[in-house]
Symmetry: D2
Subunit: 490 residues, 4 copies
Amino acid sequence: MTLKTSQQYINDIRKMKIDLYMFGEKVENYVDHPMVRPSVNAMAMTYKMAMEAEYEDIMIATSNLTGQKVNRFTHLHQSTEDLVKKVKMQRLLGQKTGCCFQRCVGMDAFNAVFNTTFEIDVKHGTHYHQRFIEFMKYVQDNDLAVDGCMTDSRGDRSKRPKEQTDPDAYVHIVDRSEAGIVVRGCKMHQTGMLNSHEILVMPNNSLKEDEKEWAVSFAVALETPGIIFVYGRQSCDTRKMESGSIDVGNQYFGGQEIMTIFNDVFVPWERVFMDGETDFTTMLVERFASYHRQSYGGCKVGVGDALIGATQAMAEYNGISRASHVKDKIVEMCHLNETLYSCGIACSAEGYKTAAGNYLVDILLANICKQNVTRFPYEIARLAQDVAGGAFVTMPSEKDFVHADVGPIIRKYFVGKSDIPVENRQRMLRLIENLTMGTAAVGYLTESMHGAGSPQAQRIMISRLINLEHRKNLAEKLSGVKENKDLDWQ
Amino acid sequence: MTLKTSQQYINDIRKMKIDLYMFGEKVENYVDHPMVRPSVNAMAMTYKMAMEAEYEDIMIATSNLTGQKVNRFTHLHQSTEDLVKKVKMQRLLGQKTGCCFQRCVGMDAFNAVFNTTFEIDVKHGTHYHQRFIEFMKYVQDNDLAVDGCMTDSRGDRSKRPKEQTDPDAYVHIVDRSEAGIVVRGCKMHQTGMLNSHEILVMPNNSLKEDEKEWAVSFAVALETPGIIFVYGRQSCDTRKMESGSIDVGNQYFGGQEIMTIFNDVFVPWERVFMDGETDFTTMLVERFASYHRQSYGGCKVGVGDALIGATQAMAEYNGISRASHVKDKIVEMCHLNETLYSCGIACSAEGYKTAAGNYLVDILLANICKQNVTRFPYEIARLAQDVAGGAFVTMPSEKDFVHADVGPIIRKYFVGKSDIPVENRQRMLRLIENLTMGTAAVGYLTESMHGAGSPQAQRIMISRLINLEHRKNLAEKLSGVKENKDLDWQ
Amino acid sequence: MTLKTSQQYINDIRKMKIDLYMFGEKVENYVDHPMVRPSVNAMAMTYKMAMEAEYEDIMIATSNLTGQKVNRFTHLHQSTEDLVKKVKMQRLLGQKTGCCFQRCVGMDAFNAVFNTTFEIDVKHGTHYHQRFIEFMKYVQDNDLAVDGCMTDSRGDRSKRPKEQTDPDAYVHIVDRSEAGIVVRGCKMHQTGMLNSHEILVMPNNSLKEDEKEWAVSFAVALETPGIIFVYGRQSCDTRKMESGSIDVGNQYFGGQEIMTIFNDVFVPWERVFMDGETDFTTMLVERFASYHRQSYGGCKVGVGDALIGATQAMAEYNGISRASHVKDKIVEMCHLNETLYSCGIACSAEGYKTAAGNYLVDILLANICKQNVTRFPYEIARLAQDVAGGAFVTMPSEKDFVHADVGPIIRKYFVGKSDIPVENRQRMLRLIENLTMGTAAVGYLTESMHGAGSPQAQRIMISRLINLEHRKNLAEKLSGVKENKDLDWQ
Amino acid sequence: MTLKTSQQYINDIRKMKIDLYMFGEKVENYVDHPMVRPSVNAMAMTYKMAMEAEYEDIMIATSNLTGQKVNRFTHLHQSTEDLVKKVKMQRLLGQKTGCCFQRCVGMDAFNAVFNTTFEIDVKHGTHYHQRFIEFMKYVQDNDLAVDGCMTDSRGDRSKRPKEQTDPDAYVHIVDRSEAGIVVRGCKMHQTGMLNSHEILVMPNNSLKEDEKEWAVSFAVALETPGIIFVYGRQSCDTRKMESGSIDVGNQYFGGQEIMTIFNDVFVPWERVFMDGETDFTTMLVERFASYHRQSYGGCKVGVGDALIGATQAMAEYNGISRASHVKDKIVEMCHLNETLYSCGIACSAEGYKTAAGNYLVDILLANICKQNVTRFPYEIARLAQDVAGGAFVTMPSEKDFVHADVGPIIRKYFVGKSDIPVENRQRMLRLIENLTMGTAAVGYLTESMHGAGSPQAQRIMISRLINLEHRKNLAEKLSGVKENKDLDWQ
């Protein structure tokens, strides 16, 4: 058993010395910074849940590399059952944190790099796969959090990497030596970066043969010299720095978005997993994206569960939970949420074994899953705002509620159903604000839109994977345009 | 191997002597009647496909009762893999027939009656389950088509069976003897009835303790005295009786809806599977409905594939298949169709073993599946009409196209893309009419709405199965309304 | 007062001698043909309503040309109030007929040709406008029904008229003389053609300068030599030829789609309104299309009213009209229907005076109106099918209901709410079938999609008419990208 | 001419002495408080625009009371043209401010109280109407901003005012004297309260005869003793208190939500406009709500214009504005936005004269308008987030962009299309954040949901106003259930 406790994990992170900027200042002990801590907590929950007997079946797997029990977040999926359990684990964590808990992107990168390096080696006679296995053993043995990055920043979207004015617009190799490579570029927005031990980098799109220097995949520790981190802002982010525990919405958990700059970073060869194989960037990108599109069929569903619960609570606190239109809206929220879950389960159950031996999701269905994730959470959030009533955007600050003079009179008028404490209404309204407009909405809505690829990326994949010729052939046979030999009895 | 060929099946049906009315007349040889034959063909395809090596894995299963290879349509599901294969089988048949092929409702009834009778016997000490096993062996040994009926006709929907003016508004027992029971009532609309060897009847709703005579389940052969059949009309039905093969849209396959009247029908005890156990009607109805709601995540997807193919064909025939808005609409059609499929797969993959030993779908997810089926096929049909252009509702009859005088000039103006024969456009337009407004639309749209239960029935089930207390608890912990002990490290 | 009675109108049509084919045969007295008569009746209602005092304000206008009272369907709009009344007139007729009543397309063509010919003459010094005024006086004095045609047939949609393999793919001038022109080509699908006295032809798209022969507009009587008509099929069309009055759904009224071939038809100069002015085809097409897109905000709303009424009736007949989900679905149907109406009203109220003096709708809002019409009727129809229950696709033929033996037992089981005659349920179910899948669905759904231009045509117009630069400028000022001088007080 | 300049208006507000709490502290000079100032600016724009010649036709009207030119925001509508211009004025202000500009609610209250008091007086022989006219003259002569309040706070929503545990849960009269009345209660959330000179209070729901003390309408100045104000929080509100002008999104304008407590406030009789006439509370509420539901068809459309502009700008800045899917999404945003506008125009154009002489909107269509406003802005916002890319939720703070060390490297990687300054991208991304998640989203989304009544309130009104009997009758005639005498010619 190689599992870390949540406390051990937090201690690891606390020890890190990194180059981090926030609000125009350098930050030293970021773990205990109120802006950051909720996101550390969310990641810590992936360690905590793995310790609980109740969730063992979901959270723990047996490593195919070491035979040890490992946290599923570091696991290489060995069956469709593993893929299904991954989705269930993510739903569980989404429910428990009400936000993005940040550890899945590394898991998805592990699995994609694992099976892609195998296929690179078969074709090119390289040795990336064994290197990567060693890296994975290190990850599993130390129960590490690793962030997976598809690098950008992309510059002018109408141009390819090589055509950009600035070649650094996409991460690329700027130098190589016997010891390793030197990379430069940026990952524009990376969820959970500061809460990871290591970074696993992948290219972010298909490349042409003459774009070899951009075809690079590698892993480095966060503390590696030359990496600069800048903290991204979120809607309502500074509520975390206010005193009090109510207006923040979710005082415990939150997400984190980081701009990560690779400013001539050295990577030793044993951590380089792709170096110029442009013919495999598409495979790596598609597989990683597919695993990650599957993930959203779990984590966002879990957050959706929390939002549905908050909506139901507000309906009860306001005395309207038995109105037929309220009940119907909550059924609709659940229906949409479970449809997302169904898509997450389906692409998992229909997964298959790769040449490398781990399991890959059904790529078409994973894209279907994500495409729905770019739509339904917005509608669920809209319905939540409908049922909750408008007070979550007009309510005074928690300080006013406890002010000596005006507090009592505010509380008098904030009574809803008379047996519900006013503070409960305050807290639940703020949670709904948090999930539909605040920091958690960044994860629940905008990340649902763009994380794991924007909607059009899925449509392009769907377009490529549906066999229209086959379907046209079905229609031509049924219509009589083509001969239909099916009816042998006539 | 106990499989029948499609030809053997058709011969079985041809031999039947039943009491059938259509258009105000008695019909004798209905199998060869042009109104009926396409529906016989659709059912025959369930026999035909089982003979093809290519589809063996999907179409054939090994009976848990006899150890023989059986058509999956007569199988009791032994695993979640079986449940998944069922969905794939249905998609295949939907693709091949472009309509409702009618045999799944019996399969769904088999599985529900099998595991419910087991539980009745456990509680009440009855012997229905063994009787039903004998019946199933007979079905499997003879590769029978059996229709499963949840009886109505329902009368005034605001009243219970016992409250109706006419007690026959729901099928019930009117007499009993040592030999068996006598039943009276009606099944208002039953898909594929005439193409079945046997009928397996179930009650259609929850019953109160004083409604025992309506709590009845049994099987009878179609030829049983006292049963009267009346053929239901469909949009465009009489096109099947016109000469020609184009305007009918799909000359090969079609559905069939039958009003079935039980006019004091005798049923021997060995074919009675429920008799007064009102406490089990809910279970039987819910399980049957759930299996059948899963089915729609396969069959309607298959028909959707054919419609997508027809739409793509029309786009090509008209020279617009490369327009970006056309491609995008076809991606959307596929996206919606695969979402339905994902729901079908998910409720199967999440199935579980019943006390009786066969597998049941995840009931919540099966209801999610069906709820989507009440929506997406309508949108897919709308998009098909958008892309196809309007000629499918304005085109002259096929007789005009071949008229000596006017035919040539009609054909001259019906040229689209110049290398596509005019007849191909005619045929494809008529297939789209058939699928979106004609006989096949009855199955693809209206049956998607009401078959296996109307939308509100699913919403009631969803409402019952979602655990709002659990979700509320999640929200109360995250908001701080309730103590959150998850963060043991703080 | 120059108004014709409905009887006079029908007599006019009965006298016509035209070259018509249907089901492979020539048809002589088409007015009394059961396939045609319902469409004649629908058109006749435009005459009938104009005679009723109750509707005078809506149906009657005062001609700006003659000072006489005329049927509004022959009127040149003199104010935004006229435009609004047009929409109300169309809603009224839609309500009364439950189908397409066919006379608006001529009214829309009148108004577009009127103001476009004025502008052609101003630029080119031609005399089309005066000619057209003479034609309009003749129309008004004789209260004629005129069909407006944007000609096709279009051939390969990816090619321009001149590029087509067959130059006749678009109607064009093939000869000219001192007396007039000779035209050849086809109008693929024309609603209500046979019920008109005259045809007013317009080109159907923008043309290049070297496509002058396709830039032609003219009017001819239906009986003009060289015109060939072929009757188009509709879903369920032959129900009209069955005996009985129930299964047809709407025994009184229906639409009509006609393929109209101009086989070298001579047109005298006084009826030619455009001859080669390619620089004005876009204006003519856009204006006609905009008037017609406005129309749909009236007529389809009226049909929607009838469908909503049928749905409410079925809910009452089945005893479910007080269920909250039923009431909510009917509210939603009304909401969507009134949204369409709002769009019809808005583009009218925002209309403006043209150089010629008649009023034009707001073109952007007319396109918004039509774009919604391509969506909402489908959803209204889906909801109607939801509430109505499935019996409208499974019910036996009306002949079975009156069969001596089986009729009584069928009727017994078709009782819903016990005080509602079975025949009422039959009739209402068939009306819903008619409106959502049958002959009326051709008008209510598919024509809503493609009539007055397919959805993409509206999107192109919207794209052209929205001023994105203006909107971008707003955003750039608010964001501070551009200087914001609005705040002069700071 | 009685118009105030924006500067004069601000001076008025600056002079006010009121009892205001924010973040647990009393605030004195609130006008110059950075949290408040953007909302003052937005209101000031209603004065500024009225001074600009370009907008005179829209912004200025001639008072029916005084014959003077007045700001339309203080006007009693004298025609449907006035109603239409009101909608256009609101769209204009929405475009110019990108937020809620707060002055319409008073205008809507003026018009509703004006015509309702007239009808009260007719029935009850009271003299409210003349009093109200005097008040209106004072408002117009001094170009006042007046806030209209439908009071709550509502307590337990399942109980009526009289049934509440706390009778103050709805504003009511607690004392009366020769001089006037004393009122107690609260208005939970009131947009723009602090930026108004006066408050015009109305009851918020239908009342029973024994609830006379809640049937009260009156006007008071903000500075009236006994009124307590508490500032409501909004998503991202404290960004206004940060230094810098970028992260705030819209540095100029914003909304404002205020909890307003009437703590035994004295109102002289000349400012009391309803006192116990419970039979007129429904009329007053419905009329006010309808005017205000019309308003949303203007103001939210204007904000939508700004959001569409921001989206188009981001597409250009990122180099994707010519991608077909981007163009199509922007067309869709415009389509939805113009549909809302059409609804705003339609209910205005269909308005009618009241007994009092001013014009009222079409109530049904105003409710249709608002119902769409509860849906489409959410979809427009979703599409904006789709096109904009995800950087608006991950971008570092503006301080980091100008940090001496890290600033240059951040800016290097934030280059999109190379000729666009990085700061422009920053600003536009922050504006999109502001409009879809930040302070402006409070107005654009949540207020669209709940302002002027929550969605279910509109559905109840729609349900009451649609004549289902009439529609059922149409269907019964068309189906043959009832005799159809329309066809007199057959």
